[in-house]
């Protein structure tokens, strides 16, 4: 069956806003369960890492350009570049490399 985009948007919005709003509104005490606290601490890094690689290599026309962008992005972020600088550096690099490669 073909799904409806407005319903997709409604589903994702309800989930996202619940995740963002409910803890702030309902939790007035600290969470004491150490496993849950630790699990929630690691989740963002694992999710984003899983989504980044190998997808970044598959996103570009030339896989080599995506691979170089990954390495340069890691080096730039490691050395304290801002979110905007890292994203811009990755884009610029892929653009220049693909002028040569593609």
């Amino acid at each position: 069956m073909q799904h409806s985009i407005p319903i997709y948007i409604a589903v994702m919005s309800v989930v996202t806003l619940s995740v963002k709003i409910l803890p702030l509104t309902l939790i007035r005490k600290p969470i004491n369960n150490r496993f849950i606290r630790s699990f929630l601490y690691y989740v963002p890094y694992v999710t984003l890492a899983v989504m980044t690689f190998p997808a970044i290599v598959q996103a570009t026309d030339a896989p080599v350009a995506g691979a170089v962008a990954l390495v340069v992005g890691i080096v730039a972020a490691w050395n304290g570049a801002s979110l905007f600088q890292v994203a811009a550096a990755c884009c610029a690099l892929v653009f220049v490399l693909e002028l040569i490669l593609v």
Partner: protein, 247 residues
């Protein structure tokens, strides 16, 4: 800690809102560029510019929206959409929980709902970077450029994505991944366990994308399973001390 309420002597609400707008402008500019590449993913999923604008206004969440648009393109079920959105945005549970500890008990439910509406990595970061209790009006100021950049960027990406030359689209498609790297790499530098999680996640994700049994699963399913397994193992082997969670 000082209790910042609008009844405190010398409190200037307009000044606090202007400080929020000032700090939100560079965030909004960065969001605009990244949202533009998100719009390209939204276009592939078949969203109109208005649908993209609304989706981004209600879900200021790069990874969550990217995953959601990928699922739409794959005609996934609504249940899968809900689970993947929950998993990719699970970190906001932690941030929203952390914010709850930094609110004055006097702060009403409406302010909590409104501040929660636009919890993002960056807006959470600048809100808790200020000393004392979180001031909702500072956050409201920062939300203005952030939401404007994010929503219009997504809509423009949908409009312009197919008039741009192919190599420009290819280059912009890595902006989101660059943003993800900017979020995960600095903590990985500070914390060896986080660094280990990132390396294991990269390796496992690569493995799951090439081994035929796992590669036949959808990208969303692979993300859910890898996230739950790797984060659980890390939490069991390396439980985090309380002072680290306060940061």
């Amino acid at each position: 800690m000082t209790d910042q309420t609008d009844t405190a002597p010398g409190y200037d609400r307009g000044k606090v809102i202007r400080e929020g707008i000032r700090d939100g402008i560079p965030i909004g500019l960065g969001y605009f560029v990244v949202a533009f590449s998100l719009g390209i993913a939204a276009k592939i999923a078949g969203l109109t510019p208005l649908e993209g604008f609304i989706a981004s206004l209600l879900n200021n969440a790069s990874a969550g929206e990217y995953a959601a648009f990928t699922l739409m393109a794959a005609n996934a079920s609504y249940v899968e959409m809900a689970i993947v959105t929950l998993i990719t945005n699970a970190r906001y549970l932690l941030m929203s929980t952390a914010l709850s500890q930094r609110f004055s008990p006097k702060t009403g439910t409406l302010h909590r709902v409104l501040v929660g509406f636009d919890v993002t990595d960056e807006l959470f970061g600048i809100a808790i970077a200020r000393p004392g209790m979180v001031d909702p009006f500072y956050s409201y100021g920062a939300f203005i450029p952030a939401l404007a950049g994010w929503s219009t960027g997504t809509a423009l990406g949908i409009v312009m994505g197919n008039v741009l030359p192919g190599r420009a689209v290819s280059a912009l498609s890595v902006a989101l991944f660059g943003m993800f790297l900017a979020i995960i790499i600095p903590p990985a530098r500070e914390n060896r366990v986080v660094l280990g999680c990132v390396i294991v996640s990269f390796a496992a994700s690569l493995l799951f994308s090439v081994v035929p049994l796992f590669a036949s699963w959808s990208a969303g399913t692979r993300t859910i399973i890898l996230t739950v397994v790797i984060s659980s193992v890390a939490a069991l082997l390396f439980p985090v001390s309380d002072d680290k969670l306060e940061q």
